[in-house]
């Protein structure tokens, strides 16, 4: 991809790391020139449509496809009767059962909305029509629609999520002030604007998959394992992706179906899921509930926290939405106990959605902290500062950097918190009750290795090449800035190639781990390429810089020169021409020296090499404090968010313009979570009732006020090579409790289950 001329130029430093460079691929996106997965021109396409189950549990007795097969244009119908000969692929960690068959269109139905048949036709319209003609006979089995179903039971304890220290129960019992609350969050969905789907084409035993992906290498691995072909035979292409938020990190059943259909038909297949099908082809955030008990002294010093949580999972996999993820690390706490259960129900296995774990966890603890503040008659800001955690009490390790105090203080100042009147219902504007609330958030620094390639071309252009993904976080831009800085050239002299499993491997665009990881690799490769060029320039007999006596060279203002010297200076293209070189290509990764090819493959295609926040000497996290103002109509109970100020510690920001956009995006998703978003399940049949964008409400432009975001971070070189911590996930964490707390302040009503809809307030 080549950058086009941006309209305005800011400061020259915009193009270096930390600058406010406009989005590198911006012109492609505003002109319709960015090509997403279903938009590649492929000759001879056939179109596939999925048919999903309409019962929540049981088995498929028969599929009558006669009418569908007789319909115009229909090429093929796939059902559970078709043995596709596929094998189960590895899980996230790279673990794989041996020779276990994989049935992407299974006979056993485990949830309503499971893919069980597919129709392939000459046109999309014909496939849609024929899909309606498929007649399925089921044998129903008893089902559990949700974890509120009496048949759901208590579920099972996740031992790896049980933690505790001190004597929480005793300290709680002895505490003079105690509060207890049960907090719950519903099923929530990613609703990325680009639906799932793919185009797939075989050439012999080579397969090309155009599919939106948060992880090109990891998903390519799944295709190779399903079909029993070498990894090198798979090429997954995803240079642009229309939003992911956690939903596009794994290859899914519909991908296997499309690839099988394409192989069987001997022609390329495009499979697009309908918007409703997107709600069950991959799981959103699991519904959660948690009980929090806090004991404190009368002057507000925390004595104990006891936390018990649960989340829904499917009947075939344990996916915990960790309600105890933020609870142990936000405050100084000597006595702590936490346990999390998963409750199997007939749903698709839930998945990671922005701020997984930390998000519902923060809703619990940050609501509970304000409940404690009101019980004590204490300013919630003062209570938080009073119990500020000087270290990580869970791991016992010191923080790498933690500027949550600064976030609270600077956020409060910008918000005007000191003008607050403490009593609920004490601030109003006409018939609107006005309320203010705080919610803190956190997300761990997750580290992963990555690889990148730098090419210096004879024309003086520098290419950055990586399989990493840009789904809107700004990967293109910050990689261009990194290379531009290392070579002292303008950003528009850099080209960035991303989103292809044939390119060097990279961390997933998820868990806020990509930027820190891939920037480290690109910086390392670019620095090595520059060193190589310096070596050639100082030693090659054809170089004009050879006899300068210098032992290094400077790269600045687009020219290469001897330090502090008025001697010759050359552009990159002049130097490459003088050296007679067409190209200098350097590939580097951030794995330990001497990693084998096998270890490299494992690193790029599994999570096996990923490191958590406390695996080193420090405990490393991003932090934030949100301040929300709501206005509640006294008569109707309608809640509007009228103002938000949020202060963040995400370490060094590689591009503040893009970071601010991501923070605001997370906050807006948090507004949706607080007030609008709720997957509704029909208890009779386990169906997701509101499986579309008109009934599953996400925030619109009119729902969102101006959001002020503030950075209070400092570089954290323990967290990443260039000093940043994650920015994408943390923005949503703490928003919902800030709004719930503001609603309490406005109305005196504590809403403990999201979303806060008007019937809960009147």
């Amino acid at each position: 991809m080549t950058i086009m001329e941006p309209r305005k130029h800011g400061d020259a430093s915009d193009g270096t790391v930390g600058g406010r460079q406009t989005r590198f691929e911006g012109n492609l996106k505003v002109t319709g020139g960015a090509t997403y997965a279903l938009e590649y021109p492929v000759e001879g396409l056939a179109y596939a449509i999925l048919v999903q189950s309409t019962i929540p549990a049981g088995s498929v007795v028969s599929v009558d496809a006669k009418k569908a097969l007789a319909a115009a244009g229909v090429l093929m119908v796939l059902t559970p009767d078709d043995d596709m000969g596929l094998l189960v692929a590895s899980d996230w960690g790279g673990n794989r059962p041996e020779n276990q068959p994989y049935y992407p269109l299974p006979r056993q139905v485990q949830y309503n909305g499971q893919s069980i048949a597919a129709v392939v036709a000459e046109s999309r319209e014909q496939a849609v029509e024929a899909a309606r003609l498929i007649c399925i006979t089921y044998e129903k089995a008893p089902h559990v629609a949700s974890f509120n179903d009496t048949a759901a039971g208590e579920g099972k304890v996740m031992d790896n999520l049980t933690s505790g220290w001190g004597d929480a129960e005793a300290a709680l019992a002895a505490a003079p002030v105690q509060i207890e609350g049960e907090y719950s969050t519903p099923r929530e969905y990613h609703v990325a604007m680009e639906p799932h789907g793919l185009t797939v084409k075989w050439d012999g035993d080579q397969i090309t998959v155009w599919e939106p992906s948060q992880w090109s290498h990891g998903m390519a691995r799944s295709y190779s394992e399903w079909f029993g072909i070498p990894y090198e035979n798979v090429r997954l292409i995803s240079p642009f992706i229309g939003g992911g938020f956690g939903s596009k990190g794994a290859a899914l059943a519909h991908g296997a179906v499309a690839a099988f259909a394409a192989r069987k038909l001997g022609r390329p297949v495009k499979l697009a899921l309908t918007r409703p099908q997107n709600f069950t082809n991959y799981g959103g955030r699991a519904a959660t509930r948690q009980t929090i008990k806090i004991g404190a002294t009368e002057d507000g010093v925390l004595q104990a926290i006891v936390h018990r949580g649960a989340s829904e999972t499917s009947t075939y996999a344990d996916w915990p939405e960790q309600t105890g993820a933020a609870t142990p690390i936000l405050y100084r706490i000597e006595n702590f106990s936490s346990q999390h259960r998963v409750v199997p129900v007939n749903t698709v296995t839930p998945g990671a959605l922005r701020g997984p774990g930390k998000n519902p966890s923060a809703f619990g603890i940050e609501s509970a902290m304000e409940e404690l503040a009101y019980k004590l008659g204490m300013d919630p800001l003062e209570l938080r500062l009073k119990n500020y955690a000087d270290r990580d009490y869970q791991s016992g390790k010191p923080w790498s950097t933690r500027r949550l105090r600064e976030a609270l203080i600077e956020g409060a100042a910008a918000f005007g918190w000191s003008k607050r009147s403490h009593e609920p219902r004490s601030m109003r504007d006409g018939n609107q009750l006005v309320g203010w609330g705080i919610g803190c958030g956190t997300f761990p620094v997750i580290q992963a290795p990555s690889e990148a390639m730098i090419r210096i071309l004879r024309n003086g252009r520098v290419e950055v090449v990586s399989g990493a993904i840009d789904m809107g976080q700004g990967t293109y831009t910050i990689l261009a800035q990194t290379a531009a800085e290392v070579f002292g050239i303008p950003v528009d002299q850099v080209e960035v190639h991303l989103g292809d499993s044939r390119l060097p491997g990279s961390a997933i665009a998820g868990g806020s781990m990509l930027a820190g990881s891939i920037l480290g690799a690109v910086h390392k490769a670019a620095t090595a390429a520059r060193d190589e060029l310096i070596g050639l320039a100082l030693n090659d007999e054809k170089s004009p810089l050879r006899d300068t006596g210098a032992n290094t060279l400077t790269f600045s203002g687009g020219r290469i020169a001897v330090p502090r010297d008025r001697g010759p200076s050359l552009t990159l293209s002049e130097l490459m021409a003088a050296l007679g070189r067409d190209e200098i290509e350097i590939r580097r990764n951030t794995l330990p020296e001497g990693a084998t090819v096998q270890e490299q493959h494992q690193a790029w295609t599994t999570m096996a090499k990923v490191q958590g926040p406390t695996m080193g000497e420090y405990s490393m996290h991003s932090w934030c404090a949100h301040f929300a103002e709501v206005r509640v109509d006294e008569d109707f109970g309608t809640v509007r968010v009228s103002r938000i100020v949020s202060a963040f510690d995400c370490g060094r920001l590689y591009n503040p313009r893009l970071v601010e956009s991501q923070w605001r995006g997370g906050i807006i998703m948090g507004i949706g979570q607080a007030l609008l978003e709720e997957g509704l399940v029909d208890q009779r049949n386990g169906r997701t009732v509101n499986n579309n964008m008109g009934d599953y409400l996400v925030p619109t432009n009119a729902d969102v006020p101006h959001i002020e975001v503030i950075s209070v971070g400092i570089p954290d070189y323990g967290a990443s090579a260039l000093g940043g911590k994650g920015v994408g996930e943390v923005g949503i964490v703490g928003v919902a409790p800030a709004i719930a707390n503001a609603v309490f302040h406005a109305t005196g009503k504590r809403v403990r289950d999201l979303p806060i809809t008007l019937e809960k307030l009147i």
């Binding site: 012109n27 960015a34 997403y36 893009l658 605001r664």
Partner: protein, 157 residues
Amino acid sequence: MTRTIHLSLDINGRRYDLDVEPRVTLLDALREHLALTGTKKGCDQGQCGACTCHVDGSRVLSCLTLAAQVEGRQITTIEGIAAENGELHPVQAAFVEHDAFQCGYCTPGQIMSAVACIREGHAGSDEEIREYMSGNLCRCGAYNSIVAAVREAAEMA
């Protein structure tokens, strides 16, 4: 149903001839038959606004419009609003400058809505812009920047 009809569509000032089934939407005609993929499919149900185009200057949801309905009318898509020399339309330029998008998938629809919103005279205040841009969802949450971009482009218009 396999019957096709012949259509001659005026898109971005150019004539396109195609043979499609009568049930093909304008959105699918653009994306699947004419390789004009700048117009996006987000929901195919008229709920998200990603497919917004102009027909005779007014915004329409192309997923709820049959291709056959717009014969003889002027259709404008995201590919048709920059100048001939490639210079961006002021709304496009303002979107880049204000970082009014992240993933970019809702962006063509947002921009087509914004161009019409300004032309309709509905960009007089931030509140008005928010209201008249609310038919276009953005899950990345670029709303603040979209409002800023529309305001700036409206001031220049």
